[in-house]
């Protein structure tokens, strides 16, 4: 091989660069995520509202169990979520005062569901303490 190799001789390799890091979920986030491992969805009563997921406003709060019933506020397709099997939705869980961003299964076409549709909370078989441990499904009639 000569020193002035042509470009076609150049070896090209794909380098997979990752930068993993550790970051605390915080006082409230840790409690919330750990409860998910136990299939419990918690809201934080802060002032006159129950907030989910919890946000730290610096005030004392009280954890309350919320769900499993919920109400649909809005939804939008998200092809990249669960291979297109889920939508992203804003959901107000029974017992909470703020809407939660969560997955809605199965993926519903435009206009198929109305604001206020009753939903029910579902947990994965093996929850890992992540927001992907649970999702919402339309509730059966009468529930």
């Amino acid at each position: 091989m000569t020193a002035d190799s042509s470009a076609s001789d150049a070896e090209v390799r794909v380098l997979d660069v990752r930068a993993p890091f550790r970051h605390s979920a915080g006082r409230l986030g840790s409690e919330f995520l750990q409860a998910l491992r136990e299939r419990r969805l918690l809201g934080l009563r802060a002032g006159d509202q129950v907030i989910v997921p919890p946000r730290d406003f610096g005030a004392r709060g009280e954890w309350v169990a919320i769900g499993p019933g919920a109400r649909l506020e809005a939804y939008a397709p998200a092809d990249w979520v669960d291979g297109g099997g889920s939508c992203l939705a804003l959901v107000t869980v029974d017992g909470a005062d703020t809407a939660l961003l969560a997955r809605l299964r199965p993926a519903a076409p435009a206009g198929a569901l109305a604001k206020g549709t009753r939903l029910t909370l579902q947990f994965a078989d093996k929850p890992r303490g992540s927001m992907t441990d649970f999702w919402f499904e339309p509730a059966e009639a009468g529930t």
Partner: protein, 337 residues
């Protein structure tokens, strides 16, 4: 007592298929000409860009904005923050003439919109949040709450497409009003000590953190103070787009303003919808002119006319109440092909 600050010159360029760095230099020159100043008169340069786009580069590329050899402040977060920082430089007496230059190549997002990385890493990002979907969810709630109608949003979307000078269609199957319209742009604003030009009376409560009043350090109070002004500006923007905004209903908030804030009148905001609707069908040209809009005379007359603007409570947009959707409203307005 702080020093009075005024905008004495500005220029911008919006479009695509042009070199953004050259556009920045052209905007700076045009803004200086409008202000009847030379670059040598500038004491400090503030550069800015969105932290999701060119924000990381506005510091190292400050030379294209005239930053070489001058006091330089880079604010790689947003134009609003940069404006507030520039105003603070003048108000505090650190500079008499300041130029704020910002730019961004939004068309990069047409290839890949990476703003999902800005979602909350513990709650929103794992679920799959992205900017377009979150905007759609928020829009649907506003529609369902009767704050906006789909027609309002469609008009706003059309106006934004016009503002982007006929950007190409978004992903197939999405309603036109939800399609993102990316464009490139550059802007320069000259601020000066004194009363001439458009007087800056408030930097906007969102940026109050730069200059908090000594007796009011609660950000919740700043937000409460800002809401009437924000509603005012949103109404003006929608009116310009041919749409309307209904008065929002009082909402409970976990944050309560301190009494001192609640008793104050809402701040006057300097930010105004200053865009000019483009004729339908107009395409961006590679030779799109720099729009030099602010001369001392025109700014003075604009300031005078603004003083006669009716109060927010009497604006026509507030009378155009939007019919409220109810629980029967569909919760999803996006149609995919």
């Amino acid at each position: 007592m702080t020093v009075p600050v005024a905008i004495v010159g500005s220029a911008d360029r919006i479009g695509r298929d042009f070199a953004v760095d050259a556009a920045v230099s052209q905007c700076v020159s045009a803004a200086l000409a409008a202000a009847l100043l030379a670059l040598a008169d500038i004491d400090a340069v503030v550069t800015t860009g969105s932290d999701a786009l060119d924000g990381g580069m506005v510091g190292v590329r400050a030379g294209i904005a005239g930053g070489y050899g001058r006091e330089l402040l880079s604010v790689p977060s947003s134009g609003g923050h940069a404006f507030a920082a520039a105003v603070s430089l003048v108000q505090s007496g650190q500079a008499r003439n300041v130029i704020v230059a910002g730019w961004g190549e939004g068309t990069k997002f047409a290839l890949r919109d990476g703003r999902g990385l800005q979602a909350d890493p513990f709650y929103a990002r794992p679920v799959g949040a992205d900017a377009a979907t979150m905007a759609a969810l928020q829009a649907q709630r506003l529609v369902a709450d009767g704050v906006l109608t789909v027609e309002d949003l469609a008009a706003y979307g059309a106006a934004m497409r016009c503002r982007a000078e006929g950007a190409g269609a978004g992903a197939g199957g999405i309603e036109p009003w939800l399609q993102t319209q990316w464009t490139d742009g550059a802007c320069a604003i000259v601020l000066q000590t004194g009363e001439a030009g458009v007087r800056v009376t408030d930097i906007g409560t969102s940026f109050r953190g730069y200059t908090p009043p000594a007796d009011d350090l609660d950000p919740g109070g700043w937000i409460s103070m800002a809401m009437p002004g924000m509603e005012n500006i949103a109404g003006e923007a929608l009116t310009s787009a041919g749409a309307a905004l209904a008065r929002s209903r009082p909402r409970r908030s976990p944050i309560t303003a301190p009494k001192s804030s609640r008793s104050r009148p809402p701040p006057t905001m300097i930010s105004r919808a200053r865009w000019r609707p483009m004729p339908a069908g107009r395409r961006a040209s590679t030779a799109a002119p720099i729009s030099r809009t602010a001369t001392r005379r025109s700014l003075a007359s604009r300031s005078t006319s603004r003083a006669r603007t009716p109060s927010p409570s009497s604006r026509s947009w507030s009378r155009a109440a939007i019919s409220s959707s109810t629980t029967s409203a569909p919760a999803c307005w996006i149609a995919r092909a």
